[in-house]
């Protein structure tokens, strides 16, 4: 190897070293959102009390906003709206007593509304339609409406508590978002 070849090689190697020293940390920096469980990051979903059971009518879907503490990057918001759910009370003795659906459409995430006749759900964006039991009524949605975990409190008039979660849109399976 002569002097100039050595210089050529050295320039390449040192240039690569300099570029990587800056580019690799920068890549990590940009990919930061992929990191799970940041120290002050999003909480694991917990059950949120929404409404006393007695206020729900059997078979009539009602929507409720989910309000909870949220961490948005560096800001900690106490009691901030996070999303909304549809609650459908089931006939007495049925298990579970209340079904909760996320109002987020599994198609592309618009908020699902009740159709005019209150007999089905419809998404105002791309007309995804669902029966009251959450099954798709046309080919637009990739899967049924997303059921959320529900529990009742121990009170005399139990409070309906829901674990609000988001799921990946367009997927055929229910995949929770971290």
């Amino acid at each position: 190897m002569n002097r100039r070849d050595f210089h050529r090689l050295g320039t390449k190697a040192l240039g690569a070293l300099v570029k990587l020293t800056v580019a690799l940390p920068a890549a990590a920096f940009l990919l930061n959102p992929l990191r799970k469980a940041s120290p002050a990051g999003a909480d694991a979903p917990v059950f949120e009390g929404l409404v006393p059971l007695s206020q729900l009518k059997v078979g009539v879907p009602q929507s409720f906003g989910v309000v909870r503490d949220q961490v948005d990057a560096w800001v900690k918001y106490p009691k901030e709206p996070a999303g909304s759910v549809w609650l459908v009370r089931q006939p007495d003795g049925a298990e579970p007593p209340v079904i909760a659906y996320s109002a987020e459409c599994p198609h592309l995430g618009c908020a699902i509304n009740l159709a005019g006749d209150a007999k089905s759900f419809i998404c105002p964006c791309h007309t995804s339609a669902f029966a009251l039991d959450g099954t798709p009524q046309n080919h637009v949605p990739p899967r049924p409406m997303d059921r959320l975990d529900v529990e009742l409190s121990d009170d005399a008039d139990p409070e309906v508590r829901v674990r609000f979660q988001r799921f990946r849109t367009l997927a055929e399976e229910k995949i929770p978002l971290a």
Partner: protein, 597 residues
């Protein structure tokens, strides 16, 4: 196929040929370390642009969000500390390289014809880079940036005639706030980069037009093939850049990122604002001028220097070249020496000043507290903005308010700011406090300094309670502090452990004769405050708001009473900060919350 594409591209753009011409620039005298500086400067500027772009994806420019977003970059994001650290130390490296580059051009007299225009472009680039430094310094909106910006913009404002107007426009009003941050941000990431790109493009174009200045007494070229810019000079450049970056990376690791002070607090009275080290000589020089003539030091002298430098290529035409060059070089040497002396003097003065050390220590403590609170899962930066981070912390805000509004008369652990005429508030509401009171009511820590409150002293003279009984009463009264805010006397009495408390009977018999608690004790023997929920936040808040209430100290004469704090003077949040501070109800670093899974 590949060749076909390359040829087509070359035919349409001619780019490769032009780049090759740059690469193959002949170096008859061989590569030189002296040519490295400009290239290194360019490389570090590119790193600045790149790391700056990275941070733009995470920074939020407003007075309420800037600090929080920088905190997030520095402490929470992957490699955020590294990217920000590189940018921070890169800025300082640019300053050093800039100075070396300037001196080099000056000493080799490269400002002479035909390179006059490039010399001016270089001076313009220097001005732009100084502007970069100033605008970037304040973007985190921390104490350091806030106060430094204030000083720099006030220097601007001190310029004759136009100064005040220029300052108002730059600051975005007369107050420092959202508009200041957005304007400085716009300058730092938009306007200045565009100007820099234009000047730098021209600077480089002219460098290729005139070529590198050949050394005065060239060494014989190395043997073998003749040298060209690439790879012979580029190898040296790469080596220099790698070494400089190595130093920068070392500094980033040494410092663990870049410094971030506590959020900007316009109300702090003792923040020791200092500029970056490369402005220390100016900072120190300003102390030598009377305020009225401040602009001489900050504007006239640097301005005259810049003008002289700018006129240099023209003077070169009129005056004898060599003596001028000698004169300029020796002047610059003298000035550099002077600047070095002022810089050292500034650091030396700070080292010797206990006042500076104390203020710095206090600032460091508040920085530590701010970072602790912001990263605590139970605290975090509040939605109101980072300036509320400290205002919602009882340890910071409560201590500050207590010091300002209470310790003129009260004491806290014996410390106070005025003549004592009220009890010591350390551990107020606790067993220790009440037990101490029952032992010696006329001690200075209790009612010794407020002779109008002599009821307890009188009781003590006649009381027959023994030590054990006093323990029990103290324990009972200390339990009042945990009575919830919405509990009534009846509800409290029905709570298990109250009526059957060993102190209950003693309290009713010994204390209840004076201290009336409606529905529990009779009072009446002497005037005394209602002790229901004594030492709890509700009692303390009531005491601070309305000490003259009949159930508290209404029986005292107005001038003997504690002054009431009206909501206009002390808002609810601040009131609660004081109470929580006294009660020790704040986040403590020793007991961090359990880490999240």
């Amino acid at each position: 196929m590949r060749k076909l594409l390359v040829d087509w591209f070359e035919d349409r753009t001619g780019l490769n040929g032009r780049l090759r011409a740059l690469r193959d620039e002949p170096l008859p005298a061989g590569p030189r370390w002296g040519y490295v500086c400009g290239s290194a400067l360019l490389a570090i500027l590119l790193i600045q642009a790149f790391t700056g772009l990275m941070m733009m994806t995470a920074y939020s420019a407003s007075s309420s969000t800037a600090w929080g977003s920088v905190f997030y970059i520095e402490k929470q994001m992957w490699m955020g500390w590294f990217i920000r650290g590189l940018h921070h130390f890169g800025a300082q490296t640019v300053m050093v390289l800039l100075l070396v580059h300037l001196l080099q051009v000056l000493f080799t007299a490269a400002y002479r014809a035909p390179r006059e225009v490039n010399w001016w472009l270089g001076l313009a680039l220097m001005t732009l880079i100084l502007a970069f430094s100033h605008t970037g310094y304040q973007l985190p909106w921390d104490q350091k940036g806030y106060w430094a910006t204030k000083v720099v913009t006030n220097i601007m404002g001190g310029a004759p005639v136009l100064g005040p107007y220029v300052k108002t426009v730059v600051v975005g009003g007369s107050e420092y706030g959202n508009q200041t941050v957005t304007r400085f941000y716009g300058l730092h990431v938009g306007i200045l980069p565009v100007l820099l790109a234009v000047c730098l493009g021209a600077h480089l174009a002219l460098r290729y037009r005139h070529g590198l200045k050949a050394p005065a007494n060239p060494t014989p070229p190395p043997e073998g093939a003749p040298s060209t810019y690439h790879p012979d000079q580029t190898f040296r450049n790469s080596l220099a850049v790698a070494a400089i970056l190595g130093v920068m990376v070392g500094l980033v690791f040494w410092e663990g990122g870049a410094p971030l002070d506590a959020p900007a607090d316009p109300s702090s009275s003792d923040y020791p604002a200092r500029p970056e080290w490369f402005f220390r000589f100016l900072f120190q020089m300003l102390k030598l001028f009377p305020g009225r003539l401040e602009w001489v030091g900050s504007i006239a002298i640097p301005g005259a220097l810049m003008t002289t430098l700018a006129l240099l290529p023209l003077l070169d035409k009129v005056l004898p070249s060599k003596p001028l060059h000698f004169l300029v070089c020796s002047t610059v040497f003298a000035l550099a020496g002077g600047a070095g002396y002022l810089t050292l003097e500034s650091f030396r003065e700070d080292m010797a000043s206990t006042q500076f050390q104390e203020a710095r220590e206090k600032a460091d403590k508040s920085t530590e507290r701010a970072l602790f609170l912001a990263s605590h899962p139970d605290f975090g930066v509040p939605p109101e903005g980072s300036s509320y981070l400290m205002r919602l912390d009882p340890l910071t805000r409560g201590a500050e308010l207590l010091d300002k509004t209470c310790l003129g008369c009260h004491r806290l652990g014996g410390e106070g700011t005025g003549e004592q005429s009220a009890p010591d508030l350390k551990d107020f509401g606790s067993y220790a406090w009440i037990r101490g009171l029952l032992e010696k009511p006329d001690a200075d820590a209790y009612f010794g300094k407020s002779p109008e409150c002599d009821g307890m002293t009188e009781w003590k003279q006649n009381s027959k309670l023994d030590a054990k009984q006093l323990d029990q009463v103290a324990e009972f009264v200390a339990s009042f502090a945990s009575i919830p805010a919405d509990q009534t006397v009846d509800e409290w009495l029905n709570t298990p452990g109250v009526v059957d408390h060993p102190g209950n009977e003693l309290f009713q018999k010994d204390c209840g004769t004076c201290h009336l608690i409606d529905g529990y004790t009779e009072g009446g023997l002497r005037d005394a405050p209602d002790l229901f929920a004594w030492g709890s936040p509700r009692w303390m808040k009531r005491m601070i708001r309305k000490p003259g209430e009949a159930a508290l100290y209404g029986y005292l004469e107005e001038k003997q009473r504690m002054p009431a704090a009206a909501p206009e003077d002390l808002n609810e949040s601040d009131l609660s900060m004081i109470v929580r501070y006294i009660k020790g109800d704040y986040l403590k670093p020793e007991a961090p919350a359990a880490p999240r899974p």
